[in-house]
Symmetry: C2
Subunit: 211 residues, 2 copies
């Protein structure tokens, strides 16, 4: 049995991750693979509790370091209980945010040391990286305008400068890993974004060769 592919979707607020997620799922099914769709933080009972705790806590009440430790605790559990078993069973895993988000939000956004985050990622991921990451990219003000109507969580209450740091961090990650991270222009109409996501996954499916 070939192991499944590990695909992550990343991006800041208001970039249309949910809609792209369903496009990715459709594209994987069109390739003939079973999918497991999950999210971070979350995906396990502990992960969902941590999500609730972090997103529900007042802005700035947790240090960047505490947030990072909680994210990696949730991630270690998620990898053990959901992601690795699904991949080993040949399923394709689609995860709404993963470690790139921790580097962007807790690192660039909130100031946790990149070296510390790298230590944690190395330990927790033990060599497992996403095979493909779709980065939904849009100027910070475009994303923020799109979420202006809804109630804002822990991170969504941050200002424009915070989301500009997040965007820059994501673009820097993409620049450093061009084979893994594909950038989609999320300021385009939602249907174009979906189509681009499907195209990238189809192309990836043709060349995916698990070790």
């Amino acid at each position: 049995l070939r192991r499944g592919a590990f695909i992550t979707i990343e991006g800041s607020e208001g970039v249309g991750k949910s809609s792209s997620l369903s496009a990715v799922e459709d594209a994987i099914r069109a390739l003939g693979w079973e999918t497991v769709v999950t999210r971070e933080p979350g995906g396990t009972p502990l992960g969902e509790r941590i999500r609730e705790w972090v997103l529900g806590s007042p802005r700035g009440s947790l240090s960047a370091e505490v947030e990072a430790l909680l994210m990696f605790a949730a991630r270690a559990e998620h990898l053990d209980q959901v992601i690795r078993p699904a991949l080993a069973a040949g399923r394709w895993v689609v995860c709404d945010r993963f470690s790139d988000a921790t580097f962007a939000y807790q690192g660039a956004g909130r100031g946790a040391s990149a070296q510390f985050l790298t230590e944690l990622a190395t330990r927790v991921q033990r060599g497992l990286e996403p095979d493909l990451t779709l980065l939904l990219d849009a100027p910070a003000d475009v994303g923020l305008a799109r979420i202006s109507h809804r109630e804002h969580d822990h991170f969504e209450q941050e200002g424009l400068a915070f989301f500009e740091r997040i965007r820059d961090a994501y673009l820097a990650i993409a620049a450093g890993a061009p084979a893994r991270v594909k950038i989609i222009d999320a300021s385009l109409p939602i249907e174009d974004v979906r189509r681009e996501a499907e195209r990238i996954v189809a192309e990836f499916g043709d060349r995916f060769d698990p070790q």
Copy 2:
């Protein structure tokens, strides 16, 4: 203002930590210092929540690594919000378990890598170590016999071999840090243990010189 002293109390199950804790408190008051008594995991809202998650989860359901990450997340918050501010204000902090317990329980007991725990401790403690640690030591079977009447949590359900590893790990830590860690024979009658704890704190008080 001199910073306060940081005193931790360590030991496995059934060694009489609660009773020694009150003896330590009395001894510090006799020296004329204000005390803050706290515990790990715990001591902050997040810490108490993590305590509940870990001690309330079925035995073995969380990996050693996940437990360690949660313990250090709780510890980072506890240090920021409770321990460092109290010490800076000149108070003496008495903490029921600290990092030694993570090395003993998650490390020796459950198998988390000592190198990983050291990385986390270095990052989270940023050079702050307890000034004095009282290690309540008793053979594992003595401690377990003392708790045999009560309902057992997550760790208390483990077998004798687990608690022997905990005890050995604590004794190894003490051997490596003899100036900081003072061993008390916890198989003695409770009044003798209390008196010994008071004597050690009084002696420590005479020589404590904060940097």
